[in-house]
């Protein structure tokens, strides 16, 4: 059973549809007892980081996530929430990954012509972890974001938009991807399939 963590953030529907396409057994829940019993967890999210952190704390999910030993995949904002701190609302996040989350415009210097948010398909390189089994270097995935996580020792894939950033992160049982695997065609489905094979 895969538990999709519900903290009232958007994009849960598209993750659910991907689970259905892959024939996975899943449930959407914010119930700690239920989520504790799941084989693996997905933390989705579209929206504002400080708002999302407030919701996670309110529902007791922040401590639960920090302490879980289940494979956990954060998607988009969900990945950023696993980082140490976000410039969006200047908020402390869950601190699983030491990486910091910054706005593209604060990082661009000579690339003022680049549009923010980054919208569209970009490539992923320097792939690490089993999440990318069978995925070739330079594969394309779909991004929509204005904030990014910097490069660090947990970086599991690198993408460049004005500057190189962490398009995926991994530390122990925690994984995150900045792109949307549920909207990234066959490559995205392969990544989700790899995640769905992980067990505690």
């Amino acid at each position: 059973m895969t538990g999709i963590i519900d903290y009232e953030a958007g994009n849960i529907r598209s993750v659910e549809n991907a689970m259905k396409r892959l024939g996975a057994c899943y449930a959407v829940s914010s119930d700690l007892a239920f989520l504790s019993g799941c084989d693996r967890l997905i933390l989705p999210g579209v929206g504002d980081a400080s708002w999302a952190m407030t919701k996670l704390v309110e529902k007791g999910l922040a401590d639960f996530i920090r302490n879980t030993d289940r494979p956990l995949l954060g998607i988009c904002l969900g990945m950023q929430l696993l980082c140490s701190r976000s410039e969006e609302g200047d908020v402390d996040c869950l601190g699983i990954f030491p990486n910091r989350v910054r706005h593209f415009s604060s990082a661009f210097q000579d690339n003022a012509a680049l549009k923010v948010p980054q919208v569209g398909w970009n490539d992923i390189v320097s792939l690490k972890t089993g999440l990318f089994d069978g995925v070739a270097e330079g594969s394309y995935v779909y991004f929509v974001h204005s904030y990014f996580a910097d490069i660090g020792e947990d970086t599991a894939s690198v993408t460049e938009y004005g500057i190189p950033f962490s398009s995926a992160l991994c530390r122990g049982n925690f994984m995150g991807c900045q792109f949307h695997p549920e909207k990234s065609g066959d490559v995205g489905e392969r990544i989700l399939s790899n995640f769905l094979r992980l067990r505690p």
Partner: protein, 267 residues
């Protein structure tokens, strides 16, 4: 490197695909979900579905269709056509659309853009602008190009961005349906003026037109949308992407995964 997007557009009436030539004569060209899947398999980067139904039944058929598309398609898609309230947008986003496009209603009530953006995020708000050149001015039109508004294209596009639009989809009503090429000078100006992506629409007749509108020396657009040339097979997306790549325009190449994955039984 971020790639340029190729976006087939499907006009939907009563749950079926149609394409209007200059928005007048309608001709059915197939089932939306199977067409969408075919485009996705060919390498389309995104899809747009525009509802042109005039009846309540037609609009209900559209939201049912959006649910089926969301379940069956694994690339992003935008829906539009007749969205006039936040509730209209909400129904379609909840049905699984990634983005909604607003057009006439936003011209009438610009606050609609900020309302949708603040509730669902700018990333899901595409502001579609139709305009015609009158003298030296690009005047914004509504209702499928049949009525002139008192707005001017470039100032309206900027206002839409300020209100929270995530992308601008501009259609030149002078070029739409002509197959004579996009209004490249206009896209070039919009792309320099705006800090959000610009999608070009209206006028594609061959692959060369799409190369021109996406090229840094041409229209500088971030994405190109077209309908007839794809629907009638005049341009095939894999050929188009190969030609774009040969012309130095970054495009997403076909998926690179190895053997198919077998999921273990998941309890």
């Amino acid at each position: 490197m971020l790639t340029k997007r190729i976006i087939p557009c499907l006009d939907i009436k009563d749950g079926q695909t149609v394409k209007g030539i200059n928005f007048l004569s309608l001709k059915s060209v197939g089932d939306p979900v199977s067409l969408a899947r075919a485009y996705s398999d060919q390498g389309a980067d995104e899809l747009v579905f525009l509802d042109i139904s005039a009846t309540l039944e037609g609009r209900k058929a559209f939201s049912d269709l959006v649910e089926r598309i969301a379940l069956n398609i694994n690339i992003p898609f935008t829906v539009g056509g007749g969205i006039s309230t936040v509730e209209d947008a909400s129904v379609l986003l909840r049905a699984g659309a990634d983005k909604v496009s607003v057009n006439s209603a936003a011209v009438r009530t610009p606050g609609l853009i900020s309302e949708i953006a603040s509730r669902f995020g700018s990333q899901c708000v595409v502001v579609a602008i139709d305009a015609r050149k009158v003298g030296s001015t690009w005047r914004v039109t509504t209702h499928g190009g049949t009525r002139f508004s008192d707005r001017e294209l470039f100032s309206w596009a900027e206002q839409a961005e300020d209100l929270g639009a995530g992308e601008i989809l501009f259609t030149s009503m002078d070029h739409d349906g002509t197959c004579g090429g996009y209004a490249c000078d206009v896209y070039r100006r919009l792309s320099r003026q705006l800090g959000i992506p610009v999608i070009a629409s209206g006028g594609a007749g061959n692959a060369g037109h799409i190369i021109e509108v996406l090229s840094p020396d041409g229209g500088c657009a971030d994405a190109a949308l077209a309908a007839s040339i794809f629907h009638y097979g005049e341009v095939l997306i894999p050929d188009l992407k190969r030609q774009l790549a040969e012309n130095g325009i970054p495009v997403r190449t076909p998926a690179v995964t190895d053997t198919a994955v077998n999921l273990q039984t998941d309890n």
